[in-house]
Symmetry: C2
Subunit: 248 residues, 2 copies
């Protein structure tokens, strides 16, 4: 089973090195039209996209992410969970906030936002561009809110750096499907021994990867990565509450 | 700017009527391989997919969603936020839960899950199949957890019904880009008057749509929809906490 879209989705990889050029106006317009057409939960359209072109703001976002390629070559977008617009419409219609502060409405808005970010990424890749998602903007969510002048009832969820690829990384091997997919009911049984082959595969991947000499396994990463975090990552729930989100 | 992937993304629409047939094994395998290759935040791979084939479980999920097409023609998938697998790996490595109960790790896992759901949808659409996302499984998240035998540290986020389309709906007009996209900083100013043209466009769309005679506007929907909910939608934060998620 083959078609150009499947080819993209089955061979996708993150690009972190871009040529020193920005997107064309036509490329930008197409990406934003794709963003506009993404699926939206109960038609609430609760996502906004900010294109960051200002050199100072880009530089400050780069500092937050601590990733040198952020806001450098290519174009930087921030995908924003946006319940503010609907709050304003409700107020101007004489309605209260209703359920805008509830968790399930936040989940709906976050779904809209991630669906949009993925479609923009797929569209960019179909044009021969490369992309890297930037969850790293969560290193300081409050600072991101200030930089982008975001009102309460919004939250900057994901960044995306898009540009002309200047590298051709290998595909990173994923967990075997038997650990990721189930029929009818979840299967509780994971054994480290069953993950040994996959650990070896990941070890070889890192060993071969010429950009980085880290030699590691998947289970070792899981044991290490989720242990500690940058201090401000612990404040995300507080920031969400300050923004009026996830309160009930 | 044209290519088959952009064509799909720019013309996407939700399909809610399917022919009475299931996916082929080859289609199913391809969709699950696409799921496996989706981007994943800091390589934590925190999404699982459940293919629901059991007639009784499908029927019970249909009842939860109150949508007649759910679990009927075609195939039903549930996309699960999954921090359980990594918790098990950590425990077997002699580690504590670490930050698995924190909000930012939940956001990462939810991102993985929605990115995966979108890529499976795009892949299905590229094969000529149609899809409808089912946020409606949130009508009773606790019941979904029981039906799918989901352990703590998981959460059933989104359903997806996929099948051979038996309808050709129009594209639903989206908000103009000036309300959805900004350069550098968020623009706070929304005026109902500025939305009048869009309200008229939505009104005409509903007027023409042959499957439904509802005649409505966007701002009217926003004023109405977010006001009340099914009782169990108010319990989602409680269910997330019971599952061990979003606690700090």
């Amino acid at each position: 089973m083959e078609n150009p879209t499947l080819e993209l989705l089955l061979n996708r990889r993150t690009i972190r090195a871009f040529k020193p050029q920005t997107l064309t106006t036509e490329q930008l317009n197409t990406l934003m039209e794709v963003a506009r057409q993404a699926a939206t939960s109960t038609f609430l359209q609760q996502c906004s996209v900010i294109h960051v072109t200002d050199a100072q703001i880009r530089s400050q976002i780069r500092d937050i992410t601590t990733q040198s390629y952020v806001g450098a070559n290519g174009d930087l977008f921030i995908f924003v969970i946006d319940l503010y617009r609907n709050q304003q419409i409700r107020h101007q219609k004489g309605e209260t906030d209703g359920r805008l502060h509830a968790m399930d409405v936040f989940l709906q808005a976050m779904e809209d936002t991630v669906l949009t970010a993925q479609n923009v990424t797929t569209a960019a890749e179909s044009m021969g561009l490369g992309c890297v998602f930037l969850g790293s903007i969560q290193n300081d969510a409050q600072k991101m809110i200030e930089l982008l002048n975001l009102p309460k009832m919004t939250f900057p969820l994901l960044g995306l750096q898009v540009g002309v690829p200047d590298q051709q990384p290998q595909i990173k091997p994923r967990l075997p499907l038997k650990f990721r997919t189930f029929e009818n009911q979840y299967d509780y049984h994971y054994e480290l021994a069953d993950l040994a082959d996959y650990d070896e595969q990941i070890h070889q991947y890192y060993d071969l990867r010429d950009t980085n000499r880290r030699v590691d396994t998947f289970t070792h990463q899981i044991a290490q990565k989720l242990t500690t975090s940058l201090a401000k990552r612990d404040q995300i729930l507080t920031v969400l509450h300050q923004q009026g989100l996830c309160l009930e």
